[in-house]
């Protein structure tokens, strides 16, 4: 789960990291009022969960409250990479001497958190990472010990930070580690961390991504989820314990198991079709769950055929078949359905479905070919 910039920076500030004075606004007049309170030059920043906001015109500098109002009106009417801007952050502008990058993420191959820093911070950090990775310093953190001060000090030295800032930098690095660790983040990033002309270190921008699997112990953070940035179908699916991702093809898929669901998408492509979605219904297949899944799949107008691929191991095939039939009775659709049931009680399941005039298949290859043909015939 991604947090907005203003949410991330608010968390950072609780860990002693200095952030610019400022507040979030949902209307242009609120934005103007904030600018009046702050006085001086301000920055208006669109709060959307995508990168490249600045390049899209979603971050603007303003000299007067009136200008803030005008710019906020424009930005609040924008869509950036398909996402509507619903909030803007109005921050005091900083006079920047230098931009630094500082972040922590999980390194899955080392199975440890890694702190990364670069003296080449700012909007082009991804380019730096690709073209001159040696400019990014990496320090692995023992998850049982946490970040040690000497590690933060070594980072400061490695990025040629002037010594007068070391003590402050170590505090910021420690704060970022604690925020990452306490919030169960998978990413906590300050970019840029700036040195101002009056020699202060300020986190101008912040980004956090939280581990969805850990939200059970952070109900306060879970409440910060931004529903606007997610597909409504994906939100609906989560309610039923389904894992759904919308794609652009014409063949809807309903599968038990994530790996098998991906393999099913792949084989559809192999036989000349395009999958309309990823959907893992998980273990068991009650009529209620199957019906919810089917409704979500069929809400996509591109879907021309649906492929069910269920491997009944512990889940019984006849139970799944009854679930599908009950769901069909409820959802009512003329879209062709291809069902492949394998494993425990699958013959019985297939018989039930054939009686209901659904297309059945025994192998995955056969099912995929039939679904592709059905989608083309429709």
């Amino acid at each position: 789960m991604k947090l907005q910039e203003y949410q991330s920076k608010h968390i950072f500030s609780k860990y002693g990291i200095t952030i610019p004075r400022g507040r979030v606004a949902a209307t242009a007049s609120e934005a103007k009022q904030i600018a009046e309170e702050l006085g001086g030059r301000t920055v208006i920043k669109s709060q959307v969960l995508v990168g490249g906001r600045g390049k899209a015109g979603g971050i603007r500098l303003a000299r007067t409250p009136k200008e803030v109002e005008e710019l906020a009106t424009i930005i609040l009417g924008m869509e950036i990479k398909g996402l509507p801007v619903r909030k803007v952050l109005v921050d005091e502008a900083a006079s920047i001497e230098k931009e630094i990058y500082l972040g922590i993420t999980n390194d899955r191959s080392q199975r440890k958190p890694v702190m990364m820093a670069s003296s080449a911070g700012g909007i082009d950090i991804e380019e730096v990472a690709q073209q001159s990775p040696e400019k990014i310093i990496k320090v692995y953190i023992d998850p049982l010990l946490g970040l040690r001060d000497y590690q933060a000090r070594n980072i400061a030295a490695s990025i040629d930070l002037p010594r007068e800032h070391w003590r402050n930098f170590i505090d910021i690095a420690r704060g970022l580690w604690e925020a990452y660790s306490d919030c169960d983040a998978t990413l906590a990033e300050i970019n840029p961390l700036v040195i101002t002309s009056d020699h202060r270190l300020i986190a101008l921008d912040g980004k956090m991504i939280l581990d969805d699997n850990a939200l059970f112990r952070h109900p306060d953070l879970a409440d910060m989820r931004d529903m606007d940035s997610e597909e409504p179908e994906e939100i609906g699916a989560r309610k039923y314990g389904l894992s759904y991702i919308k794609l652009d093809g014409e063949i809807g898929c309903m599968v038990n198991g994530a790996g098998l669901a991906m393999a099913t998408m792949d084989i559809i492509k192999l036989y000349g079709g395009e999958p309309a979605n990823f959907l893992d219904i998980g273990g068991g297949a009650s009529a209620e769950k199957v019906a919810a899944a089917l409704r979500i799949i069929l809400s996509d107008p591109n879907v021309k055929a649906v492929l069910f691929n269920i491997f009944g191991g512990i889940t019984r095939g006849d139970e799944v078949a009854r679930g599908i039939l009950a769901a069909m009775a409820e959802v009512k659709s003329h879209i062709p359905m291809v069902v492949r049931l394998v494993g425990t009680n699958s013959e019985e399941g297939r018989r039930l479905l054939a009686d209901a005039r659904m297309i059945t298949a025994e192998t995955l290859a056969e099912a995929a070919q039939k679904a592709v043909a059905a989608a083309k015939g429709a």
Binding site: R111, P143, N213, G259, M262, A263, I267, A368
Partner: protein, 289 residues
């Protein structure tokens, strides 16, 4: 023969009185009654479950001391799973299999770094467990879909593994051991570990490896196969059609920053002579060629 588990395996089920734990204990008992020696649910020590066949203990320490168990299988919900792993490790069980899905990744990083300091192997989490056909089952792989044989199977996915075991069975092929290493980004055992065990096992002649998008474990497996394996390996990689930046069900199945693509994994494996199946049902044919 086999790797990791066999008919002499003595299993303790952590979370035995929960819905999942009890159901799968029954399945494991049915597969080989001699293998399940007890269970742990704190607060229910002294009870017996499944018609008095299996004793329940309050702690892993007590369970291991009493039964001499050498494997633990964990069905504890995600919020308690890391603690269950620490408890099993501190009770000196040499093999821990964690079925639980949804364990926070920071918990797993701490667990993994703790276990690396001990002589304990963890399989999973978020995995279907292990099956040595005809001998023992630890976890949730349906026993009836696999035959005993000489093919080692290692996989990041659950039902996709079942699919492959079943396809092998249909043409009379069986497996030495099937290992589900799980779909999480940080786990206890990776492809390289299991490939090494299959290479050393005299009763495994060929290996099937089932990977998916996310991370670089398949690429590391390719290096290991080139350097250290003599036995033929056939692979399938799921997620050719997966979009970048989206988590495909498994916490670890995500293409991030251009890394973890299925095409890169396929290429790395093909370069070292691994045959790649276009779809799972093609695997038996490739094994027979």
């Amino acid at each position: 023969m086999s790797i990791l588990i066999n008919k002499h395996t003595r299993i303790i089920v952590q979370g035995i009185t929960g819905h999942e734990g009890l159901f799968h204990t029954q399945q494991m008992l049915a597969y080989n009654p001699a293998t399940v020696v007890g269970g742990v649910t704190p607060g229910k020590g002294g009870e017996w479950v499944l018609d008095g066949k299996v004793p329940v203990f309050d702690s892993m320490k007590l369970a291991v001391e009493t039964t001499g168990a050498n494997v633990s299988v964990i069905f504890v919900p995600a919020r308690g799973a890391a603690d269950a792993i620490y408890e099993a490790a501190d009770a000196e069980v040499p093999l821990i299999v964690c079925i639980t899905e949804g364990v926070p990744v920071q918990d797993m990083m701490r667990v993994r770094n703790y276990l690396d300091q001990k002589k304990v192997r963890l399989i999973g989490p978020n995995c279907p467990g292990l099956l040595t056909p005809g001998e023992a089952k630890v976890g949730i792989i349906p026993g009836n879909i696999a035959l005993p044989g000489n093919i080692g199977v290692v996989s990041r996915s659950g039902t996709l593994t079942y699919e492959v075991l079943y396809a092998l069975k249909l043409i009379g092929l069986g497996s030495s051991t099937c290992v589900g290493i799980g779909g999480d980004p940080v786990n206890g055992t990776n492809f390289v570990d299991v490939l090494g065990m299959f290479e050393a096992d005299p009763h495994t002649d060929k290996v099937v490896m089932i990977g998916e998008i996310g991370g670089t474990d398949e690429e590391k497996a390719a290096e290991f196969i080139a350097d250290s394996m003599t036995k033929p390996v056939v692979a399938f990689i799921a997620g050719q059609t997966a979009p970048p930046g989206k988590r495909m069900g498994h916490a670890g199945a995500i293409i991030e920053g251009g890394s973890g693509l299925a095409a890169d994994k396929v290429k790395a494996l093909q370069l070292v002579g691994v045959r790649i199946a276009a779809h799972p049902e093609e695997i038996p044919n490739l094994l027979q060629e």
